[in-house]
């Protein structure tokens, strides 16, 4: 009896909180038929916004993956960092989780904005950071920073350094050791981290909104376009772009499940 009740309640919560909204976004974007949807996503600003999001996702994922793996290795293995400092750095990694995205964006504006020393220096050199792509990439890097480190670190801790040391004692080159010994064990953690990074950078909104200035056809991303469309009461168009994003997220969710399963096996 109780069992029935709990399962039914669970279904109700899922239905109301997750499934109904998801269905609504699918039906909502067809509210004006196929044409309304196509018009919504083929507007020049939609295509530009999706392109911006694409660029940010690719650049951020590559940088975050490379630096995330390296930093995780240092934080677990490096002997040249003292224990105390290692622990301090380790707790600093999580900071972006505690920072509101809007505040993350504000930090970048305060440091690199047009009125700051560094900002003017770059501007003199002809590089714009805030209200341009570099700032948006920085903002997204900030919010996605912990994801890769936190996936790779536990795996490295678990496997220990013995095999790597053995390989290097036997005279293997460093890259060879990495690819043959370390990589196979951290591989699924890295893939899971990549999926998380892609999902987060695809959906980042607050930090990017502050840093980009949300200029149409210039610094607008898919999420900030959805925001602008809603503010302009253009809900059907907003729906179209949102549906594209939602479809990607559901795809990523499936990938996440798959990677999680593989991670558990290995």
């Amino acid at each position: 009896m109780m069992r029935r009740l709990w399962i039914t309640l669970t279904y109700i919560v899922f239905g109301l909180l997750l499934i109904a909204p998801l269905i609504k976004i699918f039906t909502g974007s067809w509210a004006e038929g196929w044409n309304g949807f196509i018009e919504g996503i083929t507007r020049p600003q939609s295509l530009h916004a999706l392109m911006m999001t694409g660029i940010i996702v690719v650049v951020v994922t590559v940088l975050n993956t490379v630096f995330g793996i390296m930093l995780a290795m240092y934080l677990v293995r490096a002997e040249w960092i003292g224990r105390r400092i290692k622990r301090l750095l380790n707790s600093l990694v999580d900071l972006p989780f505690a920072v509101s995205p809007v505040i993350g964006g504000l930090m970048i504006v305060l440091m690199l904005g047009p009125n700051t020393i560094i900002g003017t220096m770059f501007e003199d050199a002809g590089i714009k950071i805030v209200y341009a792509l570099p700032g948006m990439i920085l903002a997204t890097l900030f919010v996605t920073f912990p994801l890769m480190v936190r996936e790779v670190m536990p795996v490295l801790q678990e496997i220990g350094a013995q095999q790597e040391e053995a390989a290097s004692t036997l005279g293997a080159y460093s890259w060879y050791t990495f690819w043959k010994v370390t990589w196979p064990s951290i591989r699924w953690g890295v893939i899971y981290g990549v999926v998380l990074t892609v999902a987060r950078s695809l959906g980042e909104f607050g930090a990017v909104l502050v840093v980009s200035g949300n200029i149409m056809n210039k610094t607008q991303t898919a999420t900030t376009l959805v925001y602008q469309d809603v503010e302009n009461f253009n809900v059907v168009a907003a729906n179209g772009v949102a549906l594209v994003l939602a479809a990607f997220s559901v795809g990523l969710l499936l990938l996440m499940e798959w990677a999680k399963k593989r991670k558990e096996v290995h």
Partner: protein, 271 residues
């Protein structure tokens, strides 16, 4: 690791690059925001945070995040339990669906809530007839916070339930304890650290949330304007110092929470 970076020049270059990246990207901005908010001294800082609209926004945020967190604790404990302990059709599907709010852009989440509960929707119309206003009022903000923080408690208690020794529970039954008694004296204590750390993560995410809330809140100063939206407004109206001052309040709160979570998890790991 030493093997990986044996070349001396390489090794030094690598180390410096990674550490610089870390410090410039994470540490420097956070130091920067604290210095910026005090850049004009104590008095302007104090004026910024004692602006009634500012502290009302912070109080409102904390209040609504507490409500959303409490709801999450109830729902999350129940769902985490059901998904681990019962076998029923659709269980695996629901279990993967838990992470949806993490995968979905928060702005899309906000739009969904707006469409589902807005004035032209079925639910919104129904609520309006009874005299409850959802969208552009507090309930919508709570729903938005609940949506984005949904996975935290569930994901925090699931591993604990999986690890749990079933024999303890069986022993309790054998000794004649009722179901409720067993739950509260055996199962619940096992889940408690997970519930606490999940709740704190949910709370700190709740007070930081922007994307989902900004679309549904209506953002009326002093009424439905939450802290992160207030900060955004201050930035838009070119008052970075005021934005930084309120940010410092929020950040300090979040850091305290994060630190507490680490403490709880550290103690668990130590045992």
């Amino acid at each position: 690791m030493n093997a990986l970076f044996r070349g001396k020049g390489w090794s030094f270059g690598f180390r410096s690059a990674i550490m610089l990246y870390f410090i410039i990207l994470i540490v420097l901005p956070i130091v920067g925001i604290y210095t910026q908010s005090f850049s004009l001294g104590w008095t302007p800082f104090w004026e910024s945070i004692s602006d009634p609209l500012a502290w009302k926004a912070v109080l409102l945020t904390v209040k609504l995040a507490v409500i959303a967190t409490l709801l999450n604790v109830f729902l999350g404990t129940m769902i985490g339990w059901v998904l681990i302990r019962y076998r029923f059709p659709g269980r695996r599907f629901l279990n993967s669906l838990v992470d949806l709010p993490f995968a979905l852009p928060t702005a899309v989440g906000g739009l969904m809530i707006l469409l589902l509960l807005g004035p032209n929707s079925f639910v919104g119309g129904l609520a309006e007839k009874i005299g409850i206003e959802i969208v552009f009022h507090e309930p919508a903000i709570i729903v938005a916070m609940l949506f984005v923080t949904f996975p935290f408690v569930i994901r925090a208690i699931q591993p604990l339930l999986e690890e749990m020794d079933k024999s303890e529970e069986e022993a309790a039954y054998t000794l004649g304890a009722s179901r409720a008694k067993t739950f509260f004296s055996v199962i619940f204590p096992t889940m408690l650290p997970g519930i606490l750390s999940g709740a704190m993560l949910a709370f700190s995410r709740g007070i930081a949330e922007f994307g989902a809330v900004v679309l549904v809140a209506g953002n009326i100063p002093g009424k439905t304007l939450i802290a992160s939206v207030y900060i955004f407004g201050e930035i838009e109206s070119s008052n970075p110092q005021g934005a930084a001052a309120v940010s410092v309040m929020l950040l300090t709160l979040s850091f305290l929470i994060l630190w507490t979570v680490n403490l709880i998890q550290g103690r668990r790991g130590g045992q």
